[in-house]
Point group: C2
Chain length 240, copies 2
């Protein structure tokens, strides 16, 4: 009888109902770039992040005077100040402010996990901090990759594999899904050179076309912050 | 401008609508064990295979006197002579007969691809033969892994990665989906030792419990036959 908690990987939001089972904590991952941007915002002092699904919802917050970010297809939606480039969250004074954000994939994944007991924001830039948080909780974890419009994407899977690998190697977690095994293998193939491994990935090509190479490099550099954004009601706060 | 045909990988039948796009040939893959069993049946002289979705449909064929196979959850359905063990298709005289078959995942994937222009049955045991067929066609190919109840499974993905790798290495195919890149990487990690690589896979554990280790070894041994089962109307015949 296996008593250790499980850590499993779900490749895309549309597969979530098949994987939810007995998971108590869902980690939402959108490496390029929503969850990396959210972690960066917390690292730079923001107090609260409200993820919303639609541009319309984001607009209604904007009209109420909120700081609002909206990204679709890799670009800032016209009329909004921010998109999901992490760099935009370094330049402004965000201390104690609230940010409202909608993105193509990441905020969708966040809402997919709405029934989960706990939701955590994961990325490579806060990798060790998220693992430390999960190791303390000792509960079943589902790592939810945001993908690209419900298609599998490499960078989120590799990040999920990195988290799974760390939890399993601690000896206190187990996993039994093939998706988790695959994510671990892909992480092990990628970890020496994320940028090289992902050179042909569809999302990297997409962002490269938009001149977002600096964003990519930043998002693929592990452990730049120890923030752990977690859900509280319908918004995120930093657990630390 | 890229003029070469594309070879892409779809991890599970429920993701098929996202991947179909402009594919002209769909290769259905269910390594453990439906497509391996179907290839074995053709290798042993069967003339025609009719994949059906439900046990009820299989039963109605049985009542009409057909040779009928039915598998659910890895086991032969009570009342049927065959399941999806490839070994059962070696023992009988199948020459020029018609086989009706329903399985948990493989026949479902076959029906998922019902609108595709052409459907081919792929497995590791007919790997090179399928690749040779596809190289001659020079059309866009979608490799459809059957998965396990719509969940990702390693062995089908590795087989898809093996086919993708061969077509891309020929220089006459290209691919641009992250799922295809991942399948290729997983194949490259697995190819020296399929059995070892899959030792912790969920399906292998499932079949091992059912004492099906010999089946697993057989299904993971590439290039034992040169049959290429292709769809004609609602049934399969050997292209060769």
């Amino acid at each position: 009888m296996e008593n250790r908690p499980r850590v499993e990987v779900c490749f895309t939001p549309n597969l979530y109902p098949l994987h939810m089972d007995d998971s108590e904590i869902v980690v939402v991952i959108d490496v390029l770039r929503a969850t990396s941007a959210i972690c960066t915002a917390f690292h730079n002092g923001i107090e609260k992040v409200i993820p919303v699904s639609s541009v319309e919802e984001a607009l209604s917050y904007k009209e109420k005077g909120y700081l609002v970010a909206a990204e679709r297809k890799g670009q800032v939606v016209p009329g909004f100040e921010f998109g999901n480039s992490p760099y935009s969250y370094m330049e402004k004074d965000l201390k104690d402010k609230t940010l409202v954000i909608t993105t193509t994939n990441g905020t969708k994944a966040f809402h997919t996990a709405k029934d989960a007991k706990q939701v955590v924001i994961g990325s490579l830039i806060n990798l060790d901090a998220v693992c430390e948080f999960l190791l303390k909780q000792q509960k079943n974890v589902l790592l939810l990759a945001s993908g690209w419009q419900n298609k599998f994407c490499l960078e989120d899977t590799i990040c999920a594999g990195a988290i799974a690998d760390q939890l399993i190697n601690s000896g206190s977690f187990t996993s039994n899904q093939d998706s988790s095994i695959a994510a671990k293998y892909l992480y092990l193939s990628a970890k020496e050179n994320y940028l090289g491994f992902l050179k042909s990935s569809s999302h990297r090509r997409r962002l490269k076309k938009l001149n977002l190479n600096e964003d990519i490099k930043y998002c693929l550099t592990p452990n730049q912050t120890d923030v752990v954004p977690i859900r509280e009601k319908n918004y995120l706060v930093n657990f630390k």
